[in-house]
Amino acid sequence: MSDRIDVRKTYKLVIKGAFVRSESGRSYEVTDATGAFWANVAQASRKDLREAVVAARAAQSPWWAASAYNRGQVIYRLAEMAEARRGELAEHVAAAEGVPTAKAAASVARGIDRIVWYAGWTDKVAQVFGGANPVAGPFFNFSLPVPSGVVGVIAPEDSSFEGFVDAVLAPIATGNAVVALASATRPTPALLLGEMSATSDLPGGVMNVLSGDRDELAPVLCAHEDVDGVDLEGAGDAVGALAELAAGSIKRVLRPPTTGASELRKLRAFIETSTVWHTIGQ
């Protein structure tokens, strides 16, 4: 019997729920932590990014229009999908981050637990971040948290899965749609999570994942006027320059955390407050 031929995989971008090569046709090689070949990955272009923003914009309203309970169910299902592929994720995290398998498995487990945690948050955001305000008149006055809209995420460069989960799921849980730049050197765990999103009922376009050159993509994402906020956690030295680009269209900017930062800062980051007045009585 002859040896079976390898089924090799090129990791695709996740745009609008589809797994696509870059429109530019480019791809690049990703190595593991030892420098050995690990995978071929699509290299997104600025046009791919633009398509992803269009997809996110279209997906955001229906995602926010779904009930908070339903959004929680969908995100929980993402955790179910990830749980079933824990081994594969751990293998990728171990290779990407150069950590022992047991350590990688623990990191993946924490990441999946975080997904469940965010699933639980969807119907609690309004209670925790919203409120009923006392006013001097015969009115109820409510502060309601509503999503910013389309959020660009520059995911952490080093934490390929756990960090990505936090950066992406927090805005999604609060009703935003996300265009995420995965770690450039360690993109495969993020792209795998993107694959899982397609089988979790997450509407196409809510989670878009792009891999590629950050110097090329991040400025375009931050300057894009139809993006309402950016998380710059993985931007490294470029944080200042990118924040300046984001200021051009008055985006919300979440800078990398300082030590002792609140666990809720990512949840709170891409929320706007809508104030509603309602008369008391008949």
Binding site: V53, V220, H224, E225, D226, G248
Partner: protein, 330 residues
């Protein structure tokens, strides 16, 4: 069967900014019409698809892109053809047509607004002396299923209200059934009813089935005196496609070569992105030649396209992608 024997000569002033056309060739009878159309070679469908697809890959560099975007804006027939059209909606459309980007005086006006005949007067009033023509779809648009008398009355009413251009539909049923003389006669009669107004003949290529039919219908319309041949009403699922545009542009080019009369081409339906529009401009330049790269010879019938053109124009200037809601909805 053919009662009208000649294409009427174009005379007098024409709409807004169009040069007077010379006389077309004379078709004396249906037999002659058939023999002219039969003499046209068939379209190599695979070749047309391949050529159109190949030209779509041409890359346009930044400096040319800006010029192409402005040119495309100046070629737009800004269209609203809904049952729910109101005078207010038409008025806001006209404001947008005259000054597509109110924040930038450098943006050219569009070529025309395209409305139903009953809204022509509203559009004329709203446009005032802006350099934008008013086009009316007439002749029982979009199906064309009415008697000739009704169609002519439709045209006359639109012209009376001040339409500068008439977009007529051909009787596709008659064309497909082989009653070519009837189609020809109708175009000639409508042309006569148009008076000085410019006549665009809608072939509804999505219903003509083959590229050969598109080529024949294009020639038939041009022989009958069309000033423009137009792909579609926008009311059937298949509208303008690159290969169909290629076939029609070839027909316009060949007609100009053999008769000396230049006929314009208008694409309508389904063109929504600036990228597509620029691809069509490449197709025009490479097929009919640069003489067709002007609003007198080439148009886009569209509504949402204009916003994308404006967005891409602003993107070129600002260097960042722009919010779609920067511009008013049509």
């Amino acid at each position: 069967m053919v009662q009208v024997t000649t294409t009427p000569l174009r005379s007098g002033a024409s709409a807004v900014r169009f040069a007077t056309r010379g006389s077309g060739p004379r078709i004396e009878s249906e037999v002659e019409l058939r023999s002219v159309l039969a003499s046209l070679s068939g379209v190599d469908a695979v070749g047309a698809d391949a050529r159109a697809a190949k030209l779509a890959t041409r890359s346009i560099k930044r400096s040319s892109k800006m010029a192409a975007l402005d040119l495309a804006i100046s070629m737009v027939d800004l269209t609203t053809l809904e049952g729910a059209d109101t005078p207010g909606r038409v008025a806001s459309l006209c404001a947008k047509a005259a000054r597509p980007d109110p924040s930038d005086h450098g943006v050219p006006s569009v070529a025309a607004v395209c409305v139903y005949p009953d809204l022509v007067a509203t559009a004329k009033r709203a446009l005032g002396d802006a350099p934008v023509a008013v086009a009316a779809v007439a002749t029982a648009f979009p199906s064309g299923r009415a008697s000739l008398a009704v169609k002519l009355a439709d045209v006359a009413e639109a012209c009376l209200a001040g339409a500068d251009e008439i977009d007529m539909v051909i009787d596709r049923g008659a064309f497909l059934a082989g009653r070519l003389g009837q189609v020809f006669d109708e175009i000639v009669a409508v042309k006569a009813a148009c008076g000085p107004a410019y006549l665009k003949v809608i072939l509804e290529t999505g219903e003509l089935v083959t590229y050969d039919n598109v080529r024949r219908a294009s020639w038939l319309a041009m022989l009958a005196g069309a000033d423009f041949i137009k792909t579609s009403t926008g009311k059937v699922p298949v509208a303008a496609t690159p290969p169909v545009a290629l076939v029609m542009l070839e027909a316009a080019r060949d007609f100009a070569e053999s008769t000396g009369t230049a006929v314009g081409v208008k694409l309508a339906g389904g063109i929504r992105s600036a990228k597509d529009a620029i691809r069509y401009l490449v197709l025009v330049n490479e097929t009919a030649g640069s003489a067709w790269l002007s609003p007198e010879r080439f148009r886009f019938g569209a509504s949402s396209l204009l916003n994308d053109l404006l967005m891409q124009r602003l993107k070129q200037q600002r260097g960042a992608y722009v919010r779609p809601d920067e511009f008013s909805g049509d």
